[in-house]
């Protein structure tokens, strides 16, 4: 399979010593890949290198099999949607959209047609004559998206495009972007620090940390089987307990699991809140003994925190029905349906 976009062994170091190293990434045609990580992890550096705004110190960037590493942004088949100040304030929406097409020498009638269609696609029909200052933040980002879509880039790059918008609008834009991607079949690389955004949007997620890639996988895979402790901490809610390996089993108190990763000594045991089961204490000593600290009802489920004494406090998500029999201060037995084990360091 030839990748639409390939980044090979890319390294970029800034004078401050920060940067990215050993980045390898392949994106298939029509795929939406998210670069996810905390600020300063290097995700934007990777994106800007793909767009041509940064020159990597070493490594190659190939788009549709062609080496573009040395090309300036204006000669790359990429288009970027920036975080903010995207539109050109001195041009109307029409001129903003037409600018790139005029450079490409498209006939006027075709430009007009393409712009009408693009504005309809981003749900802003009839906005041609407006100026960016007359549009809301969400509308501006839609026009910016339309501007990039019109150029039919081989790879569309999005640099936290929705992070300046409020939560409700962000959700809507996510859905719209998903629809647009389905309609146009564009290849997209999306940078975000919002894991929820990454999980909901992506075909695959690239989790980054301190300038290197921790894991590349589909959202469900990343959520269910995070490869490293870092990914486990970063993606979703997770409880961590101190465990120990003895007799080739992983132990936390009375609970034990097979030692699949062949670890030894002390380990970290991670468990998702939804994988924690609790039931009123039978006194018989099943599972870990704990005391309910707090119950927060969050709609169709409840967030129940349980004090496990020496093992710390963990959070659990319980269905609405289950909590009717529970109250804070109650003694409970806790069990884990599914755990992940990582070396402790």
């Amino acid at each position: 399979m030839s990748a639409q976009l390939a980044v090979r062994n890319m390294t970029k170091r800034y004078k401050t010593g920060e940067g990215v190293a050993g980045i390898n990434l392949e994106v298939a045609k029509g795929e939406l890949v998210t670069l996810l990580g905390p600020s300063g992890c290097g995700k934007t550096t990777v994106l800007r290198s793909i767009g041509g705004f940064l020159e990597p110190d070493s490594g190659d960037i190939l788009i549709e099999g062609r080496d573009v590493t040395k090309l300036p942004p204006e000669r790359r088949p990429t288009s970027m949607v920036f975080q903010s100040y995207n539109l050109w304030p001195h041009m109307s929406v029409y001129d903003n959209l037409a600018f790139g097409l005029k450079i490409r020498k498209m006939p006027k009638a075709e430009i007009r047609e393409a712009i009408t269609a693009a504005l309809r696609l981003v749900r802003l029909p009839g906005a041609e004559k407006k100026y960016p200052s007359q549009l809301s933040g969400g509308q501006q980002q839609r026009v910016a998206l339309a501007r990039s879509l019109l150029l039919k880039p081989a790879v569309l790059l999005l640099d936290e495009p929705f992070s300046a918008l409020d939560a409700k609008l962000r959700h809507e834009m996510r859905e719209e972007l998903r629809e647009i991607q389905a309609q146009t079949g564009l290849t997209m690389v999306f940078v975000t620090h919002d894991q929820e955004e990454a999980l909901s949007l992506s075909d695959r997620i690239v989790v980054m940390n301190h300038g290197h890639i921790e894991q590349i996988a589909a959202p469900a895979e990343i959520y269910d089987r995070p490869e490293s402790l870092y990914v486990a901490q970063f993606i979703g809610k997770m409880n961590f307990l101190e465990g120990v390996v003895e007799e080739d089993r992983v132990w936390v108190g009375r609970l034990d699991w097979p030692n699949g990763k062949r670890l030894s000594g002390s380990v970290k045991v991670a468990v998702r809140p939804e994988d924690v089961g609790i039931k009123p204490s039978s006194g018989g000593g099943e599972g870990l003994a704990g005391t309910i600290k707090q119950i927060m009802v969050l709609g169709h489920y409840a967030d129940v925190s349980v004090d496990l004494g020496e093992h710390g406090v963990i959070r659990t998500f319980q269905p609405k029905e289950a909590i009717q029999a529970l109250q804070s201060g109650q003694r409970v037995d806790v069990s884990f349906a599914h755990v992940l084990v990582y070396p402790a360091h």
Partner: protein
């Protein structure tokens, strides 16, 4: 209720009255008096003979043309140099740009008269530059007591301020605007012509207005560095006023200079108004 409003109005008037009185005494009355005196002829009647003299007297005509030429050349050179410096500082991060950033304001802190005498020492007939170039066999053309001297002085006086204005305008253009322009395929020239210049055009016009007004009404540098004839209007005005004691004629020259400035002012205001209505 009525009484309260009246009281407030009176208080308002009272509060603006000091500045109004100051403006009236220092600006408005002298302007009106100058205008009146400029239309007073030698017999004490009123006509436009003082203005007619400005355009019929060969010396005066030469002065006006000389002033306009020096002003236009100075404006063009100042803006070219300042804009280039501002662009360089905005888009380059090398050591040279850092050095320019640190030093370009220095001329603003040197008093005008001192700087002018400094230029005379540097560029004069037997100045340092001439002495430095002598061993190389290069003969300098006349710079001091010539329009070149005035123009060089104007560059010295006006470049720092114009550069400061233009750099702040360029700094106000977000990087993502320029990057997105490159991203859709615009080369350097197009980025400049379609983005950087239009987005700093307003400030460019402000800088032009400042430089134009400053140069056309300048006195120190043309007085000390300029030729005896033709003279710039500021110098000539002083001569007519102080030496020839023809106050009415000097007033006519002042009004004329003011009219020249107001032409630029008109363009400036019209452009700002157009910009405003274009946005709404």
């Amino acid at each position: 209720m009525k009484k309260k409003e009246l009281k407030q109005a009176a208080l308002g008037l009272l509060m603006v009255s000091p500045s109004f009185v100051l403006l009236l005494v220092i600006v408005v009355i002298p302007i009106v008096r100058s205008m009146l005196s400029s239309v007073t002829n030698e017999a004490g009647g009123y006509d436009l003979s003082r203005y007619a003299f400005l355009f019929t007297d060969p010396g005066m005509r030469a002065n006006i043309l000389f002033t306009l030429r020096v002003t236009l050349v100075s404006c063009a050179l100042v803006l070219i140099v300042s804009y280039s410096l501002a662009l360089y500082m905005r888009f380059s991060s090398g050591r040279l740009s850092e050095w320019i950033r640190k030093t370009y304001m220095i001329p603003l802190f040197i008093p005008g008269v001192i700087a002018t005498y400094g230029l005379m020492n540097l560029l004069g007939n037997h100045g340092w530059l001439a002495r430095l170039l002598l061993p190389l066999g290069i003969d300098l053309p006349r710079i001091v007591f010539d329009q070149k001297g005035i123009i060089i002085a104007n560059l010295w006086f006006n470049i720092p301020f114009a550069t400061m204005l233009l750099s702040s305008a360029l700094a106000g253009i977000p990087a993502s605007i320029i990057e997105s322009a490159k991203d859709v395929g615009a080369g350097r020239l197009r980025v400049f012509l379609r983005f950087i210049f239009p987005l700093s055009y307003k400030t460019f016009l402000v800088a032009l207005t400042f430089v134009f007004m400053g140069v056309i009404g300048s006195f120190t540098a043309p007085f000390l560095l300029g030729p005896n004839a033709p003279q710039m209007l500021g110098v000539s005005m002083e001569q007519v006023f102080g030496v020839f004691r023809e106050h009415e004629q000097a007033a006519a020259m002042a009004v004329f200079t003011f009219l020249l400035c107001s032409v630029l002012g008109f363009f400036y205001i019209r452009n700002m108004a157009k910009e405003e209505s274009g946005r709404l």
